[in-house]
């Protein structure tokens, strides 16, 4: 029987005497009744962070390649007219050496042929060209088409249907997309929505091997384009909104067996952190940070998938990739830095061992996944050439980092940012604007950039000729209200009501040319809708990108002037590629089919009267249904 313990019953004896004394003398006691000052924790308000970085001033005249000569791409191969992986080369530059299409003749581009994939969801893939065949991957049900470029009109040689689980559509947070395949060793590698990596023989279209890597009942899906490095296929999972445990896995090219798997949370052994691990910044150093920076056991639903882009430096034998947002979105339910979400990793591709890591956004407040592409460059920096990676990050800064140690050399905004007021280069941590920190029981307004960030997954391109980085991105802000999230495996685990809208200026999309040395915009084009397609730059100094209302545009890489544009059947969120066909002519190919997170309002038929639909994007894209319908067609353009 648990006793009530020794509570002391206060009898009025002593008090009675006091009362009697005071009653008789009735001396008024001086009242010192200020009472303890209530330590009201009024958060010290940071001066309203002037949004650093201008929204792009369009009139800057292109610097005709002054710095161009000095920036070189590590491991650059000679141009072979093919397109073997979505990012073209291991440095992820998306630069093509073909120069038949130049700024002079680009205006005469016309449609060569087109091919309908028969799938009406978001087409985010990059077509591959190997020899005389083009390979196209579609969103769910992830059909792989092989098109014969030697024959006019590119007829289909064969098609491969993996028949993924239909239920996987229920756990794909932002449209059932697929970002493309990769070619190596005579095989085409790509992922299906229900977490399978498949190898298909490039010539016959027969399945070579298929490996199941994840489980949709834990909310995992796979949408990323694999990267094949030294006989290993590198793939990662997505599902930060469903409480997954993120990982990157390497499969053997020949057999499909798992060579190694690195988790992005939990003890160091799972994260493959060993003796070689030398993070540059002090807050990333420590033992088992994947556990200690989470409330007990919460790292198991901690998100941090890997669904973005991987780059590889052969000389240093390191792969560079970023991890996604922590789960749930509601920051109050996961106090601590939540390592290793929104982190850039450098790993040894053979063993998967982490060499360095830099957490871009500790204790992420606004769903800023850190998965964007890192473009590897050798850059003149303060008098000497540094081996760097340049990454236009989702939190609105273009990071220039030394890719051997992970030191952040520079971080400058390339869009409207008020959620942070800069990056402290000594500690490597962003200076958080606490005024914009989501709090339970309160709506925090005008957070810029919104959750998709200043730039989401859509890859940028770099031209060594102009020395400029061509960044397709968006300009959105949002109101958020955190609510309590409940983890039920297989169901969303978000915990945030979001409402997005166009950022300052009213335009929702921007296409910038960014000079990584001078660290500022050279020219900028504003678009009505978010520019959700990838960028392509060619030796002919022509830049290609597509808009969400269906315009495929070509611009002068130096001045940004519009050279040519064509209206396609549906909004463009795919990645443009260029190749030399068997007939020796240069062609440009692009997949048109609106969808993805912004396009869900069309591809999933969202009802925009609920402004929190599609995790808040519906409110910003109310007018998209009037501008485009669903589609799923490949278009190929060439000179007459």
């Amino acid at each position: 029987m648990i006793d009530r313990g020794a509570t002391r019953h206060i009898w009025p004896t002593r008090v009675a005497v006091q009362a009697a004394v005071t009653f008789l003398t009735l001396v008024a006691v001086g009242t010192a009744c200020t009472g303890g000052s209530e330590d009201s924790a009024n958060a010290k308000t940071l001066p309203r962070a002037a949004s650093r970085g201008t929204a792009g001033n369009d009139t800057l005249v292109a610097r005709n390649g002054i710095g161009a000569g000095k920036i070189t791409i590590p491991g650059a191969e000679a141009e072979d007219g093919q397109w073997l992986r979505p990012a073209k080369d291991y440095a992820s530059t998306r630069f093509s050496g073909l120069d038949q299409i130049t700024t002079a003749n680009a205006s005469q581009l016309k449609l060569a042929w087109s091919f309908s994939t028969g799938v009406l969801r978001g087409q985010e893939a990059a077509p591959l060209v190997v020899g005389g065949t083009m390979y196209v991957v579609t969103p769910y049900p992830n059909i792989l088409y092989a098109l014969d470029l030697s024959k006019p009109g590119g007829p289909a040689k064969w098609k491969y249907e993996p028949q993924p689980l239909a239920a996987a559509q229920g756990v794909a947070c932002c449209d059932v997309v697929n970002r493309g395949a990769a070619f190596a060793d005579g095989k085409i590698f790509y992922n299906t929505l229900d977490n399978q990596t498949i190898a298909v023989d490039a010539t016959t279209g027969k399945e070579v091997w298929r490996t199941q890597l994840g489980d949709i009942n834990h909310g995992e899906t796979m949408t990323m384009a694999p990267l094949v490095v030294k006989g290993k296929v590198l793939v990662g999972n997505s599902g930060g909104e469903l409480g997954i445990r993120g990982w990157l896995t390497a499969l053997d090219v020949k057999t499909g067996k798992v060579a190694w798997r690195a988790y992005h949370g939990g003890p160091d052994s799972l994260v493959l952190i060993g003796p070689r691990f030398k993070p540059f910044y002090e807050t990333d150093q420590g033992k088992d940070l994947g556990v200690t920076t989470w409330p007990p056991d919460k790292w198991k639903q901690g998100g941090a998938g890997a669904w973005g882009w991987i780059s590889y430096d052969a000389a240093l034998n390191l792969i560079y990739y970023g991890t996604a947002n922590p789960g749930p979105w509601n920051p109050e339910q996961r106090p601590g830095d939540n390592k290793w979400s929104s982190t850039t990793f450098a790993r040894d591709p053979d063993t998967g061992e982490a060499v360095w890591a830099y957490q871009v956004t500790p204790h992420d407040l606004h769903d800023y996944d850190g998965i964007n592409e890192s473009i590897l460059l050798d850059l003149p920096w303060k008098g000497q050439t540094r081996r760097v990676l340049v990454r236009p990050e989702r939190d609105g800064y273009v990071y220039v980092q030394d890719r051997t140690t992970g030191e952040v050399l520079a971080a400058d905004t390339f869009g409207v940012v008020n959620s942070t007021s800069g990056v402290n280069l000594q500690t490597g941590r962003p200076v958080v604007n606490h005024e914009k920190e989501p709090q339970m029981g309160k709506v925090v307004r005008e957070i810029c950039p919104a959750s998709p960030g200043t730039k989401d997954w859509q890859p940028s391109a770099f031209s060594p000729r102009t020395g400029l980085l061509y960044i397709p991105h968006q300009n959105l802000c949002m109101d958020v209200e955190p609510v309590e999230a409940n983890y039920i495996a297989g169901t969303p685990y978000v915990g945030m009501n979001v409402k997005m809208y166009a950022g300052p200026g009213g335009h929702r999309g921007v296409f910038d040319a960014w000079d990584p040395i001078a660290r500022r915009k050279v020219w900028s084009v504003t678009e009505d809708f978010p520019v959700w397609s990838g960028a392509l730059v060619t030796a002919g100094d022509v830049v290609f990108y597509g808009t969400m209302d269906g315009w495929f545009k070509a611009l002068d890489a130096r001045s940004g002037a519009l050279l040519w544009k064509a209206k396609l059947g549906s909004g463009i969120i795919g990645q443009p590629v260029t190749y030399r066909a068997p007939d020796g002519k240069q062609y440009v190919a692009i997949l048109a089919g609106v969808g993805g997170w912004p396009g869900a309002i069309v591809s999933a038929g969202i009802d925009a009267r609920d402004s929190s639909a599609a995790l808040g994007f519906a409110n910003a894209m109310r007018d998209l249904p009037n501008a485009t319908t669903k589609g799923g067609t490949l278009y190929v353009f060439g000179l007459p």
Partner: protein
């Protein structure tokens, strides 16, 4: 004040009270310990109106939670707490189809909605069989219908104590439900 007028006075009070009696007792009842029809009851309801030969008479199961303010409010709480908002958002849709428009892929009657929740649907709706009790199933179905304006205005929930992202259920315009053309791809056969 003569006794007679006092009597007449009381007559009037009683009459008004009696009139009000029938007004709102069912709508406001808080049924805590009631047991609503369990799973098999709804299974006998067909999903499609197309029937070979002479169509047999419509068989409907009366939803116990229909028009009851407490049940619809409980449905609203559960809809948010069990992560239905994750896919259907607050009626606008996201991963899942919108529920506040009047296109119903798998039927809009309460028993159709209960069947959808229990059995799940091939294109990603999880199956909650054995995970949600019968009472709560009907409560959820009643709330889903109120989001589309298919429940009476009175018992539908008012505004919620969160960010105002949409019109509250009481003021969603009333509309007649329409079986929708298939919005998503025909379901691929389940992989073996």
């Amino acid at each position: 004040m003569s006794a007679m007028s006092a009597g007449r006075y009381w007559g009037r009070i009683a009459a008004v009270a009696a009139l009000a009696l029938g007004l709102a007792c069912k709508r406001e009842e808080r049924r805590f310990n009631a047991t609503y029809p369990s799973a098999p009851a709804y299974a006998s309801v067909t999903l499609d109106t197309l029937q070979p030969g002479v169509p047999s008479p419509e068989l409907t199961v009366k939803s116990p939670a229909e028009g009851n303010a407490y049940d619809i409010a409980q449905g609203k709480l559960l809809f948010a707490q069990w992560n239905c908002t994750g896919c259907h958002s607050h009626g606008g849709g996201g991963m899942g189809p919108p529920l506040m428009d009047n296109e119903w892929i798998y039927g809009s009657s309460p028993e159709n909605i209960v069947a959808t929740i229990v059995e799940g649907r091939p294109n990603g709706m999880p199956s909650f069989r054995n995970r949600i009790t019968a009472n709560q199933l009907w409560q959820l179905a009643a709330y889903v219908r109120s989001m589309a304006g298919l429940e009476a205005k009175g018992p539908s929930p008012g505004r919620n104590d969160e960010m105002q992202y949409k019109v509250d259920e009481q003021r969603t315009p009333f509309r007649t439900p329409r079986a929708s053309s298939s919005k998503t791809l025909p379901a691929k056969s389940q992989r073996p």
